[in-house]
Amino acid sequence: MAKRSIVPFGPQHPVLPEPVHLDLVLEDEVVVDAVPSIGFVHRGLEKLVETKDFKEYVYIAERVCGICSFGHGLGYCQTIEHIMNVEVPPRGRYLRTIWMEMSRVHSHLLWLGLLADAMGFESLFMESWKLREKILDMFDATTGGRVIFSVNCIGGVLKDMDDTMLKNIVDTCNEMERELKPIADAFLRDYTTGSRLHGLGVLTPKDATLMGAVGPMLRASGVAYDARKLGYAAYDELDVEPITATDGDSYARCEVRIKEIGQSFSLIRQAVAQIPAGPIAVPVKGMPNGEYFTRIEQPRGEAIYYVKANGTKFIDRFRLRTPTTSNIPPMLNMLKGCQLADVPLLILTIDPCISCTER
């Protein structure tokens, strides 16, 4: 047996913008075990719910993570709305869907850029992020914020879009779809990127299900599961089909995410075509009392929100299970047997979001 050595990875690492620490146990160049230690971004946001007004907490929920910001606000609001039996007006539900899909586009493009950066493909990173700026400009125009929007409120949304704005969004989506094509080709058809991604970190459908992988990780292994099929917001009136791939390797994950960007464009177009007129929010009176679970599909996978309220303006317990939490066990399993040089790339293919995970 070769001599074992331990290489610390992180918390400050050039590839990952977020602090995560792993102790990699190596035999020569091959990883035999990975021991994570977390807590570098833990802020204790679930505890904060006990001292903040439940309506104010929407802003805190959005700041759980700056990338999945809109989704966290949506999940929290939906849970409270279920407890209080509030019916969100159709236009509010459609607007939420449009923003959620725009978030998915921005998150996946961000991930594509970081993946290119992890491979050392600097120009592809720049191209992906240049394209991402277009969707951020649309966020800026519709909500006033680039990464944190604060447009969700309990009972609906705070801002409306007029017809010119909706048309503008569709035009931007069409334009982006055209510009995405060469970037997608560089990821999926280029020999160099292919040689880094093919066969790296294979996750079988059985392993993925048993270890609780979610989102694009699960779908890349061939399991057609998408929480959007549950039909929250306006997804029940739109045509959503889970996008899957069969290989379960890093290339398949990249392929699924690129196709999901296209799917999001299609969903935005559908939503804009069907959006009804009417109010965007209903006034909410009284205090929540009871408990409820909500599941929504974040860009990184299924997220679960749990709220237990006691009839006062302070909530007893708020629990959030984020997609990265469920994707870490399969990731640790995939790391065993890979080369040390592939570790940053492999960690990135699960699209880790440490601020969500540690809250």
């Binding site: 918390p11 400050q12 690492h13 050039p14 590839v15 913008p17 977020e18 602090p19 807590g39 570098f40 971004v41 833990h42 802020r43 204790g44 946001l45 505890k47 904060l48 001292t51 802003y59 805190i60 700041r63 759980v64 993570c65 700056g66 990338i67 910001s69 961000l110 850029g113 990173f125 720049m126 992020w129 240049k130 700026e133 951020l136 914020g145 680039r146 990464v147 944190i148 979001c353 601020s355």
Partner: protein, 148 residues
């Protein structure tokens, strides 16, 4: 801003922020905002960095990491606190785990407010930091001369 004598390299660290400011710091290096036109390169190595761009309110666990990164950077150096959490603790101020502000751990030269701080604001903060860095470099040289 006067001509710069050297190309300053930057180091970015996420000290318990929500990611919002971190992706904006990265967005500054991409074509639309292009902080690299000031000769700045985003390096991952504290030993080669002149500017430390740091986000978030610092929790108990990453406090030692922040201190270590700061000590590893060669003199003269400047620290830019990006985002309101890095300035004062922001919305996370009441959390049990948050120290509240980078300046509770290491000295800060420039504060960039905003939640999340916009790229334009970050660039403005960095340009201000460059002026401070030049001044520190001059003082540092004079100190060295006097020592000789």
């Amino acid at each position: 801003m006067k001509k710069l004598a050297k190309s300053p390299w930057m180091l970015h660290y996420d000290a318990s922020s929500c990611n919002g400011c971190d992706i904006e710091v990265l967005a500054c290096t991409t074509p639309k905002y292009d902080i690299e036109r000031f000769g700045i390169i985003n390096t991952g190595d504290p030993f080669q960095a002149d500017i430390l761009l740091i986000t978030g309110g610092v929790n108990a666990q990453c406090e030692s990491v922040v201190r270590q990164l700061y000590e590893q950077m060669p003199n003269p150096k400047v620290v830019v606190a990006v985002g309101i959490c890095a300035c004062t603790g922001g919305v996370f101020k009441d959390c049990y785990n948050i120290k509240g502000g980078i300046d509770t751990v290491i000295p800060v030269d420039v504060y960039v407010p905003g939640c999340a701080a916009r790229p334009q604001a970050i660039i403005d903060g960095v340009v201000k930091a460059l002026e401070i860095l030049e001044e520190k470099r001059r003082n540092y040289k004079e100190e060295k001369k006097e020592e000789r």
